[in-house]
């Protein structure tokens, strides 16, 4: 385990909207440490408070209680002027892209630089470099209205990187995009993370986004952190209900299946999935199993996924199969 430096430290963060009886708690005593150079995911269902969390990192939302320390500076104690300076070190992209519609792509990217007082010519020059980094050099003179969603998000990424921030916050940045465009944007974020060493915080409700680029993930549920861990671990062995419902979205839950043998969920963690585990088991015990659900994907060259199988009616064989699976170090859980 290499030495890691904490870049964002959230301590006992609480955010309440409104006062008195109408008060709504969006975040309740949330503490998180995000390491320098990692891509950290925050996932949760709508209304769980994840968006409020990311907006508290650059203080677009003022925490009711707690502190947010970025690069050793507690943002909650800063004056307005100092906070503005600190924000230049924290880029942000949004679900709705939020480009200036009356400015060209190039001027959008140059905008944060001109806000800092950098001259128009110099800002535009750097904007062009950033646009080529995101693969849109030829669209420099285009208006946002002429660009596709994916292209607009690329411009927004270039704009967020203009002030050379050490942190990039992504608030549901791919939620408005189709799957193929989502993939290309995620690829770009990963590339930026590797090339520039920018720490990236990704807020999403989509487990696929976490799987594709996040090394670690925090699951937010009911205004609290339900679980934090390496994405692969959380994906393989979700410990909490909140995590389980995200790994296996409700739509894919198996309900109302006619009774029969026991249903178990096999989790492939990248180490066993190059072996035909289920086939081996069937051959060994000479009894068929029914595959009722399967979802696997390749993450960083290894296969991860879940398969739900129905074991034979015969209790004896069912138990033997389960102990065999344990021997083979295939983790599984029983489905209700």
């Amino acid at each position: 385990m290499q030495f890691r430096e904490t870049i964002i430290s959230i301590k006992n963060l609480t955010k309440t909207f409104g006062t008195g009886h109408a008060a709504v708690t969006a975040l309740s005593d949330v503490s998180l440490d995000i390491e320098k150079g990692e891509i950290f995911g925050v996932i949760g269902l709508s209304g769980a408070g994840k968006s409020t969390l990311v907006r508290c990192i650059n203080l677009l939302e003022k925490p009711t209680y707690g502190s947010v320390i970025v690069n050793g500076q507690d943002l909650t104690t800063l004056s307005d002027a100092k906070l503005r300076l600190a924000r230049r070190d924290i880029g942000m992209i949004f679900q709705g892209f939020n480009l200036l519609m009356q400015k060209t792509a190039q001027d959008n990217v140059a905008f944060p630089l001109t806000l800092c007082g950098i001259g128009k010519k110099e800002s535009r020059k750097k904007a062009l470099e950033l646009l080529s980094l995101v693969g849109l050099k030829d669209k420099a003179k285009s208006w946002p209205a002429q660009l596709s969603g994916g292209q607009m998000q690329r411009v927004a990424i270039a704009r967020a990187l203009a002030t050379d921030p050490s942190v990039l916050l992504c608030d549901e940045a791919t939620s408005a995009l189709d799957p193929a465009t989502t993939d290309s944007i995620l690829e770009l974020l990963r590339d930026i993370n590797r090339r520039l060493g920018v720490t990236i915080v990704v807020i999403t409700h989509d487990m696929r986004v976490i799987e594709q680029i996040c090394s670690r993930v925090a699951i937010i549920s009911d205004s609290k952190v339900a679980e934090v861990g390496y994405s692969a671990d959380v994906f393989r062995k979700p410990k909490t209900d909140a995590a389980r419902s995200l790994v296996l979205p409700p739509g894919e839950r198996l309900t109302g299946l006619k009774s029969g043998g026991e249903l178990i969920r096999l989790a492939f963690d990248g180490s066993t999935s190059d072996r035909p585990v289920i086939a081996e088991m069937v051959l060994k015990f000479g009894q068929p199993v029914n595959i009722v659900y399967a979802d696997t994907r390749v993450i960083e060259g290894r296969i991860y996924g879940h398969t739900i199988i129905r074991l034979p009616d015969d209790r004896d064989i069912s138990i033997k199969m389960q102990s065999w699976l344990t021997e083979q170090e295939v983790s599984f859980t029983k489905e209700d």
Partner: protein, 215 residues
Amino acid sequence: MLNLVFSGFLETLFMTLVSVAFAYIIGLPIGLALVVTAPEGIKPARGVNAVLGVIVNILRSVPFLILLVAVVPLTRLIMGTAVGSAATVVPLVIAAFPFVARIIEASAKEVDRGVIEASLSMGATTMQIVTRVILPECLPSLINGAAIVTMTILGYSAMSGIVGGGGLGAIAINYGYYRNNSQIMLIMIAILVIMVLFFQGLGTYFSRVSDKRIN
């Protein structure tokens, strides 16, 4: 006769444009302040917002003809007289700046909240957001608003003819109405209609060419 019409036209044009200019000088900052200090604005300030809101609402609810005679003492104080085109500018500005403030407020509110938030996340100051985000982003709407303001003031300026204001309105009332010259009346109406159409066309055209959202 032609001379009379031409000088009336020039007077109306002068009254309208000068009043529009002053109405914007006063109304633009008030309109922007209303947006910035609103509860959901970038710098909420309940007191300032309420005071500005009340001033604007009161002035907006006084019918122009009443306002016109009510401010006569003020007009005398500022212009030395309450008669003529130049003097009419005073009530016109007082009537128009609250209207301008509301028009500006409506345009500025059209700017996507997300864009303002993105600018805040970049470390923009309130002033930078107003001058470099809100105003440029709602420019097409501001131009449309300016056309509406101009047409309204044009209408008010004609109305001021009844109490000693100059321009086309005065001619229409003095020659067309009191002397019962329907020919003059029709000519005045025609010129006023053409002016309104002209300002409207101008506004629509520049609003469209300045808008980069439709291409």
